[in-house]
């Protein structure tokens, strides 16, 4: 049974990772994205395809990525997702937020010591 709570927690990081992947590697389809995420993350459960699709939908609704049907090298149909300009801006904003958060946490931990 899918635990929807875990999806909520990971939503922020997943969005960022997807955008980053698309930014660096160019247009990818869902399968390719999933493989890429498998490579990146150690935790296998995180990349259950059930978490991937809602994230893609969200990002598409926000206008940060755009989907288009194309043919793969093997001549299969696949929906390729491309990052948009606002998506790139979102990466910068999200990245900045994470940097600040991690910096704060670091400072706190250092302080404690």
């Amino acid at each position: 049974m899918l635990n929807t709570n875990r999806v909520e927690l990971l939503r922020g990081t997943l969005d960022l990772i997807i955008l980053q992947a698309l930014a660096t590697m160019g247009p990818l389809h869902a399968y390719a994205l999933a493989s890429r995420l498998e490579q990146l993350a150690d935790h296998p459960l995180m990349l259950n395809q059930g978490t991937l699709y809602p994230a893609l939908v969200r990002l598409e609704q926000k206008g940060w990525i755009k989907g288009a049907w194309r043919k793969t090298d093997a001549n299969r149909d696949a929906k390729y997702y491309t990052i948009t300009k606002s998506g790139r801006r979102a990466i910068d904003r999200q990245a900045e937020r994470w940097r600040r958060l991690s910096g704060l946490v670091n400072k706190l931990l250092l302080h404690e010591r």
Partner: protein, 906 residues
């Protein structure tokens, strides 16, 4: 924000993105399959591996769907479909539920539309919240000679007079500090209008020149009355939309048409819009005329000239003010009061020693709100009762749903086991409840709309149109919908809570049963509620029925049976002062000649007709003291009035041929008058001074009710019509040996034979007249009884349901007892005892609530105290009887069970 829009958009075209997603998932699967095949798996194995890797496709789709649209809406759709399926399986229950809700909501909706019309709806004018109704209060030694107009009750309970003199009105109008406008008006009934040669009786509204301008109302056709018309006393008028339909067939040629009003030619210059019927809700004048036409339409009978406009001692105009937008009431009052005082002193300079009136300002949102005065209180009571009935219906349905819920225990547990959350199950059950509520509520709103005018038509006299019409407008529908939703939520709450709680608490292992105690307690609470509410309704109904019974049996002091009444107002220009008396005599003799007529009388006030006239009297010729101390009710009578009405004569004689226009003035008094003004007991040949004339008492007659059935007989003074200088409109009373309704045709013909242009109107029997004054009491008695019967029926059904399921739970226990040798009778009584105990609590609660509430009913009762023990006792007994009967059925059935069957029942 963008996401929200996307989600909303998605909702509308749900199907296509589904296909897109399927395609995407399929493509994903294909790619995965390729990857697996590349690693060496067979196509089938590769396909399966791909599927496994992708995870639940359906779940993916669901999550996708959740992200795309609003998940709660898709869930709601699912819930609704499921609820419909479940409900379809129990048609009996659904029918009962829907009918119950429909009746409850329908009654409330109908009453709401009445309350809207009588209490809430503002006048259809510009910015009605700026309007204020002006009034005054005064000590007993007041400055006015003649007051004619309605008395209203303020929100603080003060009785406030509303008529003003023209002089005071004109003075107040000159204020421009706080007033944006001030206009005066007066309703006049019994006016003769001749349209295209045909005479008819109409109602007229005399209005000041700025009336239309101040109210901000324009006629739908033609032009309004203007200040110029009033100044020039122009003979123009604006007619109502209703009269335009009735009399002129909505022809646009009506503008410029000339009609005759009280022998005065008047040109119609406009037609009002259908929504506007003046500034008095409930009044529906047919024609609006300028105030300056008053002498012809509503002549002064007491002063030196026919004009009331010139007489500062005659107070007869209703006055409505429009405050300037930024003005607050306190400031307006502080500026207007001194101006008012000055105006009064200036217009009546030789009466400054008397009690000067003090100005009052009332909310004018509904103008001169006589409807609220008359019908507000009983309608509020009916509304309270209807709400109680609705609450009862909810309790009843909750009980039924609970009883039904027992059988759905396993279903709920299964759903929990399959992963449904408690909220989800609760939503499901609530949806069922809401569906029932919507179905019943929709039906109920239609019912309410269809029956909305049933009550107003009962409230008015049967020979006149209803005093008001129900306003089933947007506000009513909105509140109705709110009621429906609230009802649905209310009766679903208890069962929902119970079902979900039971389900979550690890149900399957317990055989699906929840703690019996919880179930019983909730059932008890509901039964107690139903019993209590029914008791209150039943007792209230009992009080009202007894009141009506008492009123019907009251001795009126005269015999109302077999007497026909009609009213007549000979037009003044054809019958000036000296000719009216002889005309009335002529009519009286002609009517006496009709076959079947026993006696004919006439009077200026019909008895028990909410019509009155009072006068100051000075016994033994001394000047009357001011105020109410030396006041008697006046009725000018003629013909054989006392004989026709069956009023006994105790001393002396009645008026006869000796009493003519020029002979010695004589009066007849009633016993109450003697008690009040001649306490020594002998009144014959004593002198009574009134209106400046010294009358000799020639007879003493029995006391009669005058205003209505309730009010006790007042001291009454009877003058001879023939001796009054200028009789106005009169009512004829005709006693007959046969059915009085057979006289209708002959009466009309007889009057027409004397003068074809004389119109008689308001033809009704005396009995109808008396009953019309009891319309409110009759309404209350009927409606509360209906609701009480409904309440009892609902309680029976509810109790039946709860008891049946409670008893079913004890089946195995009963089986054991039977097997151990208990007698069936004992079992029966044991089962009933629990119900009796619960019913007892309900009765106690009901009795207490009733005692608390019945104080409010006090003023509607007659001849019975609100805490009458017999009524309450009867009501409680009936409720107990009904409850026990309802419980006896399942209890009886249970005792006929065979012990083995009972034991085997799980």
């Amino acid at each position: 924000m963008r996401r929200f829009l996307q989600r909303a958009l998605h909702l509308l075209r749900f199907k296509r993105p589904e296909a897109d997603l399927s395609r995407e998932i399929e493509s994903h699967l294909v790619l995965l399959q390729d990857a697996h095949e590349a690693r060496g798996l067979s196509p089938q194995a590769a396909r399966r591996a791909a599927r496994l890797a992708l995870g639940g496709v359906l779940q993916t789709k669901e999550l996708h769907g959740d992200a795309r649209a609003f998940p709660w809406i898709t869930d709601a759709r699912q819930d609704a479909r499921y609820a419909l399926r479940t409900l379809r399986r129990s048609p009996a229950f659904v029918t009962v539920a829907v009918v119950t809700i429909a009746l409850g909501v329908g009654a409330n909706a109908a009453l709401l539309s009445l309350v809207e019309s009588v209490l809430w709806k503002p006048l259809p004018v510009r910015a009605p919240q700026e309007l204020r109704l002006l009034g005054w209060v005064s000590g007993p030694n007041d400055v006015m000679t003649y007051t004619s107009g309605p008395t209203v009750t303020s929100s603080s309970g003060e009785r406030i007079e509303t008529p003003f003199s023209y002089a005071v009105f004109a003075a107040l109008r000159r204020d421009d500090a706080v007033l944006a406008g001030l206009s005066a008006f007066r309703a006049v009934s019994g006016v003769t209008a001749i349209v295209a040669g045909r005479p008819e009786m109409i109602n007229v509204q005399l209005v000041s020149g700025n009336y239309y301008a101040m109210l901000g109302v324009s006629p739908a056709l033609g032009r309004p009355i203007t200040a110029d018309d009033d100044r020039a006393a122009a003979a123009v008028g604006v007619i109502s939309d209703a009269w335009w339909s009735r009399r002129f067939s909505r022809a646009t040629s009506v503008i410029g048409q000339s009609i005759v009003i009280n022998q005065m030619p008047v040109v119609i210059v406009g037609v009002n819009s259908p929504a506007f019927t003046g500034a008095s809700p409930g009044d529906a004048p047919d024609v609006f005329l300028p105030l300056s036409l008053q002498p012809g339409v509503f002549p002064n009978l007491y002063g030196t000239s026919a004009s009331l406009l010139d007489d500062p001692a005659a107070w007869w105009l209703s006055v409505v003010a429009r405050l300037k937008p930024s003005t607050d009431d306190a400031r307006a009052r502080s500026l207007l009061e001194p101006r008012f005082q000055q105006a009064v002193a200036a217009s009546l300079p030789d009466r400054t020693a008397r009690d000067q009136p003090r100005l009052r300002m009332l909310d004018g949102l509904r103008g001169v709100d006589l409807l609220r005065e008359r019908f507000g209180a009983p309608l509020r009571i009916l509304q309270g009762i209807a709400l109680v009935a609705l609450l009862l219906a909810c309790a009843n349905l909750a009980a039924l749903l609970l009883a039904r819920g027992g059988s759905r225990r396993r279903e709920m547990n299964l759903r929990v086991a399959l992963g449904a959350s408690r909220g989800r199950i609760a939503r499901q059950v609530l949806t069922e409840g809401l569906l029932l509520a919507v179905a019943g509520g929709g039906l109920g709103l239609e019912l309410g709309y269809a029956t909305r005018n049933a009550i107003p038509s009962v409230l008015g006299p049967s020979w006149q149109p209803a005093p008001f019409t129900a306003a089933f407008d947007v506000r009513v529908v909105g509140i109705g919908i709110g009621l429906v939703v609230a009802t649905g939520l209310l009766f679903s709450l208890a069962p929902t809570w119970r079902l979900t709680q039971g389900a979550m608490e690890g149900a399957l292992k317990n055989g699906g049963r929840t703690t019996p105690r919880e179930a019983r307690r909730l059932g008890h609470v509901l039964v107690v509620a139903q019993v209590a509410l029914s008791a209150v309704l039943l007792a209230s109904a009992g009080l009202f029925v007894r009141t009506l019974w008492n009123l019907d049996r009251t001795d009126l002091g005269f015999r109302p049976d077999r007497v026909m009444l009609f009213a007549l107002n000979p037009p003044r220009s054809r019958y000036p002062a000296g000719q009216r008396g002889p005309l009335l005599e002529q009519l009286e003799q002609a009517i006496q000649a009709i076959a079947g007529v026993q006696s004919v009388g006439l009077s200026t006030s019909p008895l028990v007709g909410r019509d009155r006239s009072t006068t100051s009297v000075g016994p033994d010729g001394r000047p009357p003291r001011r105020g109410d101390v030396d006041r008697a009710w006046l009725n000018d009578v003629g013909g054989q009035f006392f004989e026709a009405m069956g009023i006994p004569v105790f001393q002396g004689r009645v008026f006869d041929t000796r009493d003519r226009a020029g002979s010695a003035p004589v009066v007849i008094v009633n016993q109450q008058f003697v008690r009040r003004f001649f306490p020594s007991g002998d009144a014959l040949d004593r002198i009574v001074l009134t209106n400046g004339v010294r009358y000799r008492v020639i007879g003493v007659v029995g006391d009669t009710r005058f205003w209505d059935v309730r009010s006790p007989a007042p001291p009454t003074l009877y003058r001879a019509v023939i001796q009054t200088p200028d009789p106005g409109g009169v009512t004829f009373e005709i006693r007959t040996a046969m059915d009085e309704r057979a006289l209708v045709g002959p009466l009309r013909r007889t009057v027409a034979s004397i003068d074809a242009e004389l119109t008689l109107f308001d033809m009704r029997s005396q009995q109808d007249q008396v009953e019309a004054t009891l319309s409110q009491e009759r309404l209350l008695a009927t409606m509360t009884t209906l609701f009480a019967v409904l309440a009892m029926a609902l309680t029976c059904i509810g109790v039946f349901g709860v008891v049946a399921s409670a008893i079913a739970r004890r089946t195995s226990e009963v089986g054991i007892r039977l097997a151990l040798g208990a007698r069936r009778q004992e079992i029966f009584l044991m089962l009933l005892r629990e119900t009796a105990r619960v019913a007892g609590i309900g009765m106690a609660l009901g009795a207490l609530s009733f005692i608390a509430v019945s104080r409010v009913l006090g003023r509607f009762l007659y001849g019975i105290s609100p805490w009458d023990p017999a009524t309450l006792g009867c009501a409680l007994f009936l409720v107990l009887l009904a409850t026990l009967t309802a419980a006896a059925v399942p209890a009886g059935r249970m005792t006929t069970l065979s012990p083995t069957a009972a034991l085997r029942h799980e």
